[in-house]
């Protein structure tokens, strides 16, 4: 009868295996956690960059892709950790293999508790002789998965870099064009940020032919993210809201116009149009009343205000002072930027002028339709006989007025 090996020897081996198992499982958990952190950080960095440079449609598509990749990668990492997790039953064979024990360790621990066998003392002795091979430090050399940790740190660095790059990606101030040749009003912006932004924009935001400039990053600040982003509520509006939120946080409040409640939305623009229409009507009525008064009570005061070019708002020869929307607030002007309405003819440095497309909106009804039936012919005004009682009024009406300082004849 062979004596069984001392319990403390086998227990010591078992404890080493248990420690190695714990160390490995900690390693696996850390590796999965760092991997998830890395994947999430990369996804966040990509989302940030895309939110800044991509159009709404491209951002939605890219966000969906990023989300799918994130979920797939996270699931793969978790599944990998699940497979690599070392259970109690599998631990002896695993440690045996890692420590190149040629089956000694696994055999000893699996047969422990059975009746003593002839070769068991020899197996215990030969296993203990190789004890240095299966210590936890030898089986799992590093308790921290270095590559995964570095990957997580690099990915977090990418997020920080994306945040730092955000100001460089901000589009340059828009240059309002009041006529041909005014495109050179803004100095050309060049540099690394501009180049980077243009490169990413070219990839992430391919402008479809005939599309308006609303999706381009240069005009994204106008407050529209394209027709696809309009009138979205609930879950469908999340990408737009996210994009607007990211832009607002990284570029400032003036870029927060991408959501459904943004000024660029249909509802907001309709409200603005109503306000403008009411404002125009008020001014038109006031001007008409004044004109009526002037016509009814001709004055001889040469300094009295006459209708501009003899017309009223909507008469076809003047411009609505509110054509480009309400005036910019002084706060934004102080920052050197201002917002323009969609209808404004703008020319950016990068994208160049884009002609308006689509059908022209319906004109507001004329306050005096009879004056705008057709274009006024370029005919010289013939001298007519004026009654003496109206001579002063007529002379005043047709007088050539100069600017202040001009010498009146």
């Amino acid at each position: 009868m062979w004596r069984p090996p001392p319990d403390d020897e086998v227990d010591g081996i078992r404890q080493e295996v248990r420690r190695a198992r714990r160390r490995w499982n900690g390693y696996v958990v850390q590796r999965a956690a760092y991997g998830v952190v890395a994947v999430v950080a990369v996804a966040a960095a990509l989302t940030l960059l895309l939110a800044l440079v991509a159009s709404s449609a491209a951002f939605i598509a890219a966000l969906a892709g990023v989300a799918l990749a994130l979920i797939a990668s996270a699931c793969r990492l978790v599944a990998g950790a699940w497979r690599a997790w070392l259970g109690k039953a599998r631990a002896p064979a695993w440690v045996d293999h890692r420590a190149t024990m040629d089956g000694r360790l696994a055999t000893l621990l699996e047969l422990d508790g059975q009746p003593p066998a002839f070769f068991q003392p020899l197996l215990v002795e030969s296993t203990l002789a190789r004890r240095a091979r299966f210590t936890p430090e030898e089986v799992v050399p590093s308790p921290v998965p270095g590559i995964a940790l570095v990957a997580a740190l690099v990915a977090l660095g990418c997020v920080g870099m994306a945040v730092r790059l955000a100001p460089l990606l901000e589009p340059p101030p828009l240059a309002a064009v009041h006529g041909e040749g005014a495109g050179t009003a803004s100095p050309p912006i060049d540099g690394l940020g501009s180049l980077f932004r243009r490169a990413i924009a070219a990839i992430a935001s391919p402008a479809p032919p005939g599309s308006d400039a609303s999706g381009a990053p240069g005009n994204a600040a106008v407050g529209t993210t394209g027709p696809a982003a309009e009138d979205r509520t609930g879950f469908a509006g999340l990408p737009g809201a996210l994009q607007a939120s990211i832009r607002r946080r990284l570029w400032g409040e003036r870029w927060a116009h991408a959501g459904p409640g943004a000024p660029g939305s249909t509802r907001a623009r309709a409200g603005a149009a109503d306000q403008q229409r009411a404002s125009r009507e008020r001014r038109t009525n006031a001007a008409g009343d004044a004109d009526d008064v002037r016509r009814a009570t001709p004055s001889l005061d040469p300094g009295a205000e006459a209708p501009a070019a003899g017309t009223a708002a909507g008469a076809g020869t003047g411009s609505d002072p509110d054509l480009f929307g309400p005036a910019t607030t002084p706060e934004l002007v102080d920052e050197g930027r201002f917002a323009l309405g969609l209808a404004a003819r703008v020319r950016t440095v990068q994208s160049g002028p884009r002609p308006p497309t689509g059908d022209a909106p319906d004109a507001l009804p004329d306050a005096r339709p009879t004056l705008a039936v057709r274009q006024r012919p370029d005919e010289p005004a013939h001298r007519v006989t004026v009654p003496p009682a109206y001579a002063a009024i007529v002379r005043d009406a047709f007088a050539h007025r100069g600017h202040e300082g001009d010498v009146q004849p």
């Binding site: 089956g103 070769f119 003392p121």
Partner: protein
């Protein structure tokens, strides 16, 4: 000497004996190292071996050399078509005693030896072949209702000639299953053939020196066989051997080639052969425990002849060795 040292000494003794016998055989048998190792493995595992090879390749010489090296009693039975079972097991004859009485006396046949060479076993009728069944499985023979124990160790080496199939009787599956290993003897290489010609045509023929003392050889061999059975086998190694056997069964396998070409898979005896062969290999490697690698080392010899292949295998030119290769490839995924 503590218990561990006793175990180590037993392993060393086994290794030394095995190596000595192998070296003695190698004096007269040129080449066939793998075949000799498998034959010795079978011998120390307590099984019987079937040797297949063309005539003149050294089958009988190997067996005779083995018997000489081990110092055991050997008998040779040349199987022919008119060989009767009694010619193997023995028979009862009428013998007159000193008192003038006549009585039936059992005369032992050639099977009563330590090493039995059943030469060209496929030339005998199935009835005669099956006379060996009881001897091989239970190490006993029953004649006229009387059971006679065979002296241990009992080792049968049967040879097959794969060329001359005319007038032969294919071994039944039950008989094949009782062979622990099937060993194939290939043609010698050029160098081996040159050595064979050089050593067998001179006046001084090499002789085999007994490794074991003739008086104690049987007991010594039994002790070595006992040492083999003491080798430790972990449950995961047993599971692996069982999985290998199960993978040869068409109804239970995940191997496509087994499903397609195998009609009947290995019996549990195949698993026993795997584990016992693995134990011998572990001892030869100086280990007191067997591993899955040891099991794989003997898988071809233990499983190949136990597979009953279908017509599709013959049509496709697939043999048992290739099936075992596929089974091993499938089973490696199950290794811990």
């Amino acid at each position: 000497m503590n218990d561990a040292a006793v175990g180590a000494a037993a392993i060393r003794d086994f290794q030394d004996t095995f190596a000595a016998v192998r070296d003695e055989i190698a004096k007269v048998v040129v080449g066939h190292e793998r075949a000799i190792e498998l034959i010795l493995t079978t011998f120390f595992a307590g099984g019987h071996v079937l040797i297949e090879g063309v005539p003149g390749i050294g089958k009988t010489l190997i067996v005779r050399s083995l018997a000489d090296a081990l110092g055991l009693r050997m008998s040779r039975i040349q199987f022919t078509v008119d060989l009767m079972p009694a010619d193997i097991t023995g028979t009862r004859i009428v013998e007159e005693t000193a008192g003038g009485r006549r009585e039936l006396v059992f005369v032992r046949g050639p099977v009563f030896a330590h090493i039995v060479l059943a030469d060209e076993i496929n030339r005998a009728t199935p009835k005669t072949q099956s006379a060996l069944l009881e001897a091989m499985a239970e190490q006993q023979v029953t004649v006229a209702g009387t059971t006679h124990e065979l002296p241990p160790p009992f080792f049968v080496l049967a040879t097959l000639n794969p060329i001359e199939m005319e007038g032969t009787y294919q071994l039944p599956e039950a008989q094949l299953d009782r062979f622990f290993f099937k060993v194939l003897l290939d043609y010698p290489s050029d160098a081996e053939l040159t050595r064979i010609l050089g050593t067998t045509t001179t006046a001084a023929l090499p002789t085999v020196r007994p490794v074991l003392d003739r008086e104690t050889a049987a007991g010594r061999v039994e002790r070595l066989r006992h040492v083999v059975r003491e080798v430790l086998v972990a449950p995961h190694v047993e599971r692996y051997a069982a999985a290998l056997v199960r993978l040869t069964v068409p109804a239970a396998t995940s191997s496509e080639s087994v499903r397609r070409h195998v009609a009947f898979g290995s019996s549990p005896r195949g698993g026993q052969a795997l584990l016992l062969g693995a134990k011998v290999h572990a001892l030869l490697d100086g280990r007191p425990h067997a591993t899955p690698d040891d099991v794989e080392h003997v898988a071809h010899a233990a499983l190949g002849h136990r597979l009953v292949l279908g017509f599709s295998a013959e049509a496709a030119g697939v043999d048992g060795a290739r099936i075992v290769d596929d089974v091993l490839a499938t089973a490696r995924r199950l290794r811990p």
